[in-house]
Symmetry: C3
Subunit: 208 residues, 3 copies
């Protein structure tokens, strides 16, 4: 039951991440192969780098459905593209749910490998946010996550909440659910109230 819930959540998150990559690739007039690849990297890139850093076999190499689900995301974009814009809010919610799950997965896996909690928070953030950075590198744009919105910051905050519950003696399920909820709530509030991280002004600005 809980297992099924997690799998469905992961599929929804993977599709949402892949679609975000495919749509940006479409805006660059990439071909179907290019769009599929950008979508795949967006969806699995963060977890792949996490696994390389941990010394683990990248998760998607032994489980084919990530490639399949990305193919489904491509079909969705090709067939439904004229309706996708109207679904932007839905995608935003799916993307946020996926983000929260990916952060939790990243933290858990890192702790299982015996690293300290602060490393796990970094890995949770990498799992959630690095796919989008790799996506932006592939489409040759400055990474959105470095300039806009509260995104990676929500991952970090979620990781700190996880740590707090862990230190406070909360159960494993409580750690994970409050971490995920924090990521979701922070990102939704940030979107609603237009929160953003301060811009680092150019060091040369004051000399003008």
């Amino acid at each position: 039951m809980e297992e099924t819930f997690l799998i469905i959540t992961e599929i929804i998150g993977t599709i949402a991440f892949a679609i975000s990559g495919i749509r940006l690739a479409a805006a660059k007039s990439f071909d179907w192969f290019g769009a599929y690849t950008v979508g795949l990297v967006t969806a699995i890139g963060g977890g792949t780098v996490r696994d390389l850093l941990l010394g683990a076999t990248p998760f998607w190499m032994v489980n084919g459905w990530y490639l399949g689900v990305t193919g489904l995301a491509l079909v969705i974009v090709i067939l439904l593209k004229r309706y996708l814009v109207k679904l932007n809010k839905t995608f935003f919610v799916f993307d946020t749910i996926g983000l929260a799950l990916f952060v939790v997965i990243g933290i858990q896996k890192t702790l299982e490998y015996g690293f300290p909690m602060w490393t796990a928070i970094v890995m949770g953030t990498i799992t959630g946010a690095l796919g989008g950075v790799l996506r932006d590198i592939l489409i040759n744009e400055e990474p959105l996550v470095f300039r806009k919105d509260v995104y990676a910051t929500a991952c970090i905050a979620g990781g700190i909440v996880y740590w707090g519950i862990l230190l406070g003696g909360g159960s494993s399920v409580l750690q994970q659910s409050t971490c995920a909820a924090s990521v979701i709530i922070i990102r939704l509030l940030a979107a609603k109230y237009n929160w953003s991280i301060p811009i680092l002004r150019d060091y040369a600005d004051d000399n003008k």
Copy 2:
């Protein structure tokens, strides 16, 4: 005999890949070191990422001739640059032969590490095509392979042919040679008849 043939093929492919990187670096006015590095990444980047994903020691770290051959490619470009344009067709053929060999090497090595065939096809494609993606990232351009021609698709098709022969009970040599031949034939036909993968139109196009 067969061994010698393979080594010569790999050297030709490595030089062809390195030269493609070095020429694009030259078009960006990189210095000799930059051009060498871009050439090296083009030639060994795909196989390096494959080896990291497989958990193997990257092949070029224990065999110095890849660095040497890239140096040779740099010398060729420096000395012969005014003639290189006339050799474009020759380079295209060499590049295609290299591509086919790299795909076969990627598939074989992945199977040796015990991964399923579909993972091996992905790794064959990574071995053949990712070097060019890394090259384009280093020269700060959108990856060519995502927008033009049949290239990565030929790798995937070659991998599927490999799988078919494997399932049909064909020998290891038959698997490899038909895979390589498929990659070469598909890419040559694609170049001759201007085949291309459909472009994914911008999802916003229909709203204009």
Copy 3:
């Protein structure tokens, strides 16, 4: 005593590398998180790729002070930015000292893992120079190291000096200190006398 000296040197070098990344991120109007991340990648990116290639656990995953020191670098840039331009020469010296140390660390670690000396030289260069390449990819610029100044070349030269002392039977301390001194002297002389690596002219130039 020697230990303390090395730690202080590494902290100075890490801060200098991180500040170079943070300042370039500031010039792109990245937010604090983006600037921190670019600074971190500049400081630890080279060593991380080295460790992945060696099959080692990335050094910063078991030692938190690299993340802390990068945070300090961010605070320095935020608080002192109007004075930083005047400190450019100081930063150049710190950056050069860091570069020399990173090259030595990269060479040593690679030799400890049993690779040949030429691999160690490549790894020393990767440790010293790749962080800056990753920084430039993240800010979506052509890598500076491929176009300007003697930088990676100083790393390679330092590695060759290391090899020479090794072959000549010099002690481990002598190998390391002459290597580091060579990197520093070559880079300082290159800056003073405007040395540069020849540009590879576009292969198409002669046809114009």
